[in-house]
Amino acid sequence: MSKFRKKRGKTVPAISTASLPDIIFILLFFFMVVTVLKNSDLKIDVVVPDATELQKLEKKSLVSYLYIGTPKERYRDKFGSAPRLQLNDAFATVDDIPLFLEKEKLKIQEQLQPLMTASLRVDKEVTMGIVQDVKTKLRKTGQLKVNYSAKPRSKDL
């Protein structure tokens, strides 16, 4: 009998899990803060080029995104494989840009509207033709602040 009693005395006390929710909450808050909800479903493949002279886009709310790339595999039948422009969730043409920008502008406060930046997320394989058309349209619309989206790369080529 005494054999059993001895063993029981040595059992390790259960680890208190009372602080577990707090730890999880800290993690949760971290992810909540850094999260950017994916705002549009891309129908095109976009692999942005690399560059070194990058600037961060500070205010996310002041940025409108224009995507240019080749349509994804499942849209090829319908839209072909020529590079296309995508605004929000749909394929668009260059002529849709002014309306798109106007809608984006309405989302932000009036005094901040001149600070709006158009971020061009363009696939690196795309030819400059369509990019040029978009740029020309942006100039005509008066949206002159443009950011060519790119990934950081180390200094040497």
């Binding site: 909450f25 950017v36 002279e53 400059m128 008066g142 602040k145 060519y148 790119a150 990934k151 040497d156």
Partner: protein
């Protein structure tokens, strides 16, 4: 005397928090949005006035439909572009065929419609890098700090003395 209330069981709190945590984990895209910021020139319907520029002040860069680089009529590799542009802008030896002063230097960038965006941006990046390095060197020389650390007005003054002028001509229609 108040009724004795049973304590609320908080053991499911962790589960709820986990659920939320997993949701945010899945939806998170920690992608910092970075890129090269440019200011496009405003559009005008009239063709721009043809300014008489001295050839020595113009650094013409052409990226053709085969993604080949031509700088002032000479083929060049992209990796040599930055150093070459820096020499052109500063012109340390006061050569006759390079810019009179950094203030007068103008970079003219031209591409075809068939140029790939990747190589266009690589070239643009190098040109911008050239200016960033010049600004950095000047800032070290004048104020003893990097360009990034200068106060706003000093930055502006520096940029005024060595302005970044990249003029982009309408592309030619090759290879679209």
């Amino acid at each position: 005397m108040p009724k004795e209330r049973p304590e609320i069981n908080a053991s499911s709190m962790a589960d709820i928090a986990f659920l939320l945590l997993i949701f945010f984990l899945v939806t998170t895209t920690i992608d910092v949005d970075k890129g090269i910021t440019v200011k496009l020139p405003p559009w005008s319907d009239e063709p721009p006035e043809t300014q008489k520029l001295k050839t020595r002040n113009v650094y013409s860069v052409l990226v053709n439909a085969n993604d080949e680089l031509l700088v002032r009529g000479e083929p060049m590799m992209v990796r040599d572009l930055k150093e070459n542009a820096k020499v052109f802008i500063i012109n340390p030896q006061r050569l006759e065929n390079m810019s009179e002063s950094p203030k007068n230097a103008i970079i003219s960038l031209k591409n075809d419609r068939g140029t790939s965006y990747g190589s266009y941006l690589a070239v643009y990046n190098e040109l911008k890098a050239a200016y960033n390095e010049i600004w950095d060197e000047k800032a070290q020389e004048l104020h003893g700090s990097t360009y990034e650390d200068l106060p706003f007005d000093k930055k502006k003054e520096l940029r005024g003395n060595i302005p970044l002028v990249i003029s982009e001509a309408e592309p030619t229609d090759f290879g679209d």
